[in-house]
């Protein structure tokens, strides 16, 4: 579509979509539970209407054609958030949403792209958190270094857990991951140098150039609560993670993963190396989760085993399912929305797990493809003479 004017239609659409998305999330964040649920229903309604009228792909194209502007809107929004939010707690919710989004991006490689439903995500999340926390508290190493160590540890565990994936199919794989997740939780509870049931307290915060992230951020003469430091850090990393995820999706790796999900045997006959790709999905997904875990530990300064058990894995799967399998933006959206709704439900703490299970069942029954369903990839021929755009 030739861009003839500075303010072409698509540009307006792109800005509108990014802005509306951010505003909806903001409303869900600051409003009561009803507002968050209303946003959920609204997004669902918008998607369904768009699908009925065939407008989904054009909107996606609009945003992609003007990637820069859309990103700029979102970045501005994230930068402005700490200034606009009156409440430290809401800022905290935003940080947690970002952390969980990184996890779900990783899980998406396994569940969404490759079709391997992995119930051990909390174990990867926990490995990153525990490695980073232990190295920082027991050996006094710098949190930046320990977080990287956490990523490496989680990726290694991903390889270990991924080995059964090579030998099992379908739900036997899921069952193995459930067993491994439970073993992980039990091992942590029963090993005292890992903190045991009491967890690990006193995890140091990051510090940059001598100033700790736990101190309020002083900018432009204002003092922002310390969560702002983490918000910026987490969202920078989330942006990088999103870039990586989207690049992977559009590469041969992403295609190969999808091929494996559709039919393993046919994929092998086409020359796809199952071992390499399945292990890559597990290791990479685990690495993302491990990164998020490290961030989590240094943010909350305390980690306990109840943050890394089977129900947490189930929550992550819920987020991927709600957001949309194999759709990076969808998965992030699912994570953010579900984190917000979860926090709003804190008043009804007793009903939390009940809510998650009911949501999961409802999604499975009515819209298993999630809010933003998986998309067909869009390829363009080189922009040479003539405007041949090949849509695959």
């Amino acid at each position: 579509m030739p861009k003839t004017a500075l303010f072409s239609n698509t540009l307006v659409i792109a800005i509108l979509v990014s802005f509306t998305g951010c505003m909806l999330l903001y409303i869900a964040l600051v409003g009561p539970l009803i507002a968050a649920l209303a946003v959920l229903v609204l997004v669902l309604g918008l998607m369904v209407t768009a699908e009925r009228t065939g407008k989904v792909e054009p909107v996606y194209h609009a945003v992609e054609d003007h990637k820069g502007i859309s990103l700029a809107v979102i970045i501005l929004f994230v930068l402005a958030l700490p200034f606009v939010l009156s409440n430290n707690y809401l800022l905290h919710v935003a940080v947690m949403g970002g952390i969980y989004s990184i996890v779900t991006l990783g899980l998406n490689f396994q569940v969404g792209s490759t079709g391997m439903v992995n119930f051990a995500t909390a174990a990867f999340f926990g490995t990153g958190a525990y490695t980073s926390a232990l190295l920082a508290t027991k050996f006094g190493l710098s949190p930046w270094f320990t977080t990287v160590a956490g990523v490496v540890a989680a990726a290694s565990l991903g390889l270990v857990f991924g080995y059964p994936a090579l030998k099992t199919r379908g739900y036997y794989l899921s069952l193995v991951t459930i067993a491994l997740q439970v073993i992980f939780t039990l091992m942590i509870i029963n090993t005292s140098w890992l903190g045991g049931p009491n967890g690990i307290p006193g995890i140091p915060a990051y510090s940059l150039g001598g100033t700790s992230f736990r101190l309020p951020l002083a900018i432009f003469g204002m003092e922002l609560p310390y969560q702002a430091n983490y918000l910026y850090l987490v969202f920078i990393l989330l942006g990088l993670a999103l870039m990586a995820a989207s690049r992977l999706h559009n590469s041969r790796t992403g295609l190969a993963w999808n091929a494996i999900e559709q039919d393993e045997i046919v994929a092998v006959t086409q020359g796809i190396n199952l071992t390499k790709l399945k292990l890559l999905a597990f290791a990479l997904g685990a690495a993302f989760a491990g990164l998020a875990g490290g961030l989590y530990g240094h943010y909350t300064s305390f980690i306990g085993v109840e943050d890394f058990d089977f129900s947490k894995s189930l929550v992550f799967i819920c987020m991927v399912l709600l957001g949309g399998m194999d759709n990076a933006i969808g998965v992030v959206l699912g994570a953010l929305l579900l984190t917000i709704v979860d926090e709003k439900l804190r008043d009804f703490a007793d009903y939390r797990m009940l809510m998650y299970s009911v949501i999961l069942i409802i999604i499975l029954l009515s819209r298993p493809q999630g809010l933003l369903p998986k998309r067909i990839r869009r390829y363009q021929a080189a922009k040479s003479a003539g405007e041949a755009k090949v849509q695959l």
């Binding site: 439903v117 059964p164 030998k167 099992t168 199919r169 379908g170 739900y171 036997y172 899921s174 069952l175 193995v176 459930i178 067993a179 491994l180 439970v182 073993i183 039990l186 091992m187 509870i189 029963n190 045997i265 089977f310 129900s311 189930l314 799967i317 399912l321 007793d350 009903y351 797990m353 009940l354 998650y356 299970s357 009911v358 999961l360 069942i361 499975l364 029954l365 298993p368």
Partner: protein, 307 residues
Amino acid sequence: MSLILSQVINAVMLGCTYSLIAIGFSLFFGVMDVVVFSAGDVAIFGAFSIMALATMTGLQPVLDAILPHYVTVFLLVSLGAASTALLMLLIYRLVIKPFEGKSPLMPLLSTIAAGIALSELIGIFYPQGRNPQAFPQLLPNDVLFPGIMMSERNIIIILATILLVTVLYWFVNKTKMGLSIQAVSQNKEAAIMVGVNWQRSVTTTFLVGGLILGIGGFLVASYFNIVRFDMGSMYGLKGFSAAVVGGLGSIYGGIVGGMLIAFIEVFVSAFIPGGTAYASIAAFLTVVVFILFRPEGIIGEKTVEKV
């Protein structure tokens, strides 16, 4: 020597409780090719409903007055088991039937969610639901052989399991409905072609499975003397491990697997120092090893996947 013998009896009893859940898993998997993860929570629901019948309605004293105690217990357990049978049917209608013909991952996720929802509902709505409940001593617990700590309750649990398995065996092999269920689990299309009422077989399987789970839950609660709303998930996982180890889809496999897992747990706990913590880990490691190297289980036959 007597220590080993008492641990063996312990293991056999625990194995009986695991076997019943494993049999439930195998029944559902055989007939529908779906792993119903809520089996553990359904069993615990059975225990709760029996407890509710015994303690909250005025039924027990009334029945005790007119009938011998063991008949009262039998009646209460039957009522509780009937309620779990109906619950199982409800779960089938709600979260398994809608996914017929689709990817088996969806009923896996939905049954996990249903199991969690069930245990949460118990925790929320049962009075003091979140706290561990002392299970009423419905089975006599006199110690018969003091040397090896074998009480009447142990014998009853083992005998009840044997009786249940025998009845199940008769049902599955000697009645028309049971044979229909076998036919459906072997080859659904062929069974339909020879006139088997598929829907009725499936419904019956879920009812029967629910009954077995209810009784299993009662026995587990009697064995441990307490019952908690969240016992279901661990118990279900162990039962599932037992089913896989023995051979998913086979009733004998459920028994073999149940006994094996129970023996591993009890002996790790008794003879490895600090072992109680690692008993469950050992059980789950066993199932991981089996899924990796012998997914068909001890009794199952290797299935070859056709391209």
